[in-house]
Every structure is written in C-alpha cells, then in structure tokens.
Amino acid sequence: MSRSNDDLFRGWRPTPASPELKERVISAVRGGVQTQPKGLTDRLWESRALRYGWVAAATVLVALNLWLPSPADREPYLAAMVEEPVEFDPVLAALLKDHLSPRTTWADQNHLVPVLLGEVRTVATDATASGENS
C-alpha cells in the first residue's frame, strides 16, 4: 500500500518471491532446525550411556564423601577448635561466668569477645562510680 502522496506505481507491485524459493528456504530452515546441536539436558535425557555416566558420577561422589576423612579428622588443630573445651584464665572466667558452659570450645571465642568487652565496661563504670562516692 502506497503511503506516498502520489500513486506513481498504481497498477504495479514488486515482483514476489517465487514458490520455488519458498520451498527451498522452508526446507533449508527445517533442515537447519533439525541439525541444530541439542542442549546438555536433552542429550542427558535421550542418551542411555550419558544417563549411566551421570548416575555413576553421582555414586562415586557420594562414596568419596563417605570414605574420605573430614577436614577435622585430618587436622587435629581444627578438631580441637571445635571439640575441646576451652580453659579460661580465672579472671576472664569470672567475668564471663554467665556465658560459659562446660561445652564452650575455642571455636566460641569470637562470640565471647563482645560479651567480654561489655563486662569489662560494666566493671570499669562501677569502679569509677564507687571511687567518686567514697
């Protein structure tokens, strides 16, 4: 449809694409679609060998996970961090008495630092106040 102000080409239209070209292009396109590489998921789903391979790989990973020692087993230092109860200095133990238990380990130290700082601040405030009163 002409949107021009004139109708110069009235009665004429561009040469259309031939039916032979349509047939050729459509068949080429369909061939191209069929020969496109499939995705990994499709190949896994359709190939028995790849399915067996996938199951074997998963089995091996599970077995290795069960069989190999854990990092804590291989590193006694790490095991101690996690498992051995910590022994605090008596002064620190007195400050942290409300937060310690027999099962407190070295790995808990990071959590205790802010608690310890808070306790120290409280003791210092109390000491200052009692000095001023006396």
């Binding site: 949107r3 102000n5 109708d7 009235r10 009665g11 004429w12 239209r13 259309p16 349509k22």
Partner: protein, 220 residues
C-alpha cells in the same frame, strides 16, 4: 506484496496523505475493484499484519517450527522485493532472503520480543542484500523485472519500462522508494532500516521519484 496489497486508486491517499473515498467513482469496474479489494485483502492494514508477524515470531521463539512458514507468508514478498530492488539480481535477492530466514531459525529466541518486526526483518534483509551485492564481482548479469502488473487496476505508468529505469537509479535510492511505496514504512523507519538519518531517507525518496517521473514523462 505479501499479505496485503495496494488498494485501487480511488481508495488511495490525497495530496496530504489522508485517506479519501472518491465520489467520482464513475465506472462499475472501479466499484467492483473496490469491493474486491475490501473483501480480498484481509488483513487489510499494516498494523494487523505486524501483529500477526509478532505472534508468528513469538511462536517461533517458543520452538514452534511451523511458524516459519507463517512468517514467510506474512513478510517474504516484502523482503524479497527489497533485496531485488537493492541488488538488481534475482540470485542475490534469493540468497539474501534465504540468509535472513536461516538466521531467523538459528536463533529464534532473539526475535520473540522485537517491537517492530517488519522494520527489523527488512533491516536484516538490507544488510544481507548489501553484503551480497558487495560479494558480487561481475556486473549484474540480467535485467530483472522489479515490478509486475496487478490485474484489473489501471496503471499510470508503463511498469516494464519503469522496471528497467528503476535499475538505472542508484541502489540506495531504489530501496528507499521500495520501502516507502511497497513496504509502507515511514521515513524514520526507512532511516533505521538503511542506517541513514530520517532527512536523508526523505531526500533520497524525493530525488528518486522526481528522476523516475522525469524519465517516464509523468507530470508531478
């Protein structure tokens, strides 16, 4: 044209580009042609064709391979026409259209969300045709008919002569004329398709039409 075609003269546009319904339809033949056009040219507007094209491309992007044929039916004639007018060679035009459709089918997901699929596909064709013309080493081996007659519509010009004369115009001007008159693009869209500013598109169109009228002896 592919899914829609030029209306009879009296349903065309006036000097300002506005649609007009002539009161001076003076022959039964003209009236019948008008009715035939109205009945036979569904979908009748570019917007409808573009919506169908969008839907077909969406289907293609969803993996429905049959949508390729639907896309072909909606736009292939426009793509082929552009390629033919751009290259002036049937073989190059066919290669360009085939390349566009192969690209379309190789990465269909890319085309599912295109906002203006007509302009997008024409732009791809423009690029493919330009590459084909660049690759061609020898001059055009044939004189190809770029226009064919529409039955039952009086022609204003000798189309066969116009077809030959069109090939004498620069390829850049030819394709602008095609995109404006037959693919129904705005000058802004033509600029996007041909990678040129809107003003340049309008200017090329004016030069080409004036030159054609001059060669054909048609009064403005």
């Amino acid at each position: 044209m592919s899914a829609w075609r030029s209306p009879p003269h009296h349903l065309s546009h006036d000097k300002n580009g506005d649609s007009i319904g002539h009161s001076d339809v003076d022959t039964i033949g003209d009236t019948l042609a008008a009715v035939e056009f109205a009945v036979d040219s569904q979908p009748s507007s570019r917007a409808e064709v573009d919506e169908e094209l969008k839907a077909a491309l969406r289907q293609l992007s969803e993996g429905k391979g049959d949508a390729v044929e639907r896309v072909w039916n909606l736009i292939a004639d426009d793509l082929y026409g552009l390629a033919l007018w751009r290259t002036g060679s049937t073989a190059d035009a066919e290669d360009a259209v085939q390349e566009v459709f192969l690209r379309l089918s190789s990465r269909p997901a890319k085309f599912g969300g295109v906002r203006n699929p007509r302009a997008y596909l024409l732009r791809m064709t423009h690029n493919a045709a330009a590459d084909a013309a660049r690759r061609r080493e020898s001059p055009m081996p044939e004189s190809v008919p770029t226009l064919v007659a529409i039955e039952n519509v009086d022609a204003r010009i000798d189309g066969r002569r116009a077809s030959d004369l069109l090939l004498e115009l620069p390829a850049a001007q030819r394709e602008v004329v095609f995109l404006r008159h037959f693919a129904a693009l705005s000058f802004r869209e033509i600029g996007e398709v041909c990678h040129i500013p809107t003003f340049t598109a309008a200017s090329r169109h004016r030069l080409a039409i004036n030159r054609l009228k001059e060669l054909l002896g048609v009064e403005s």
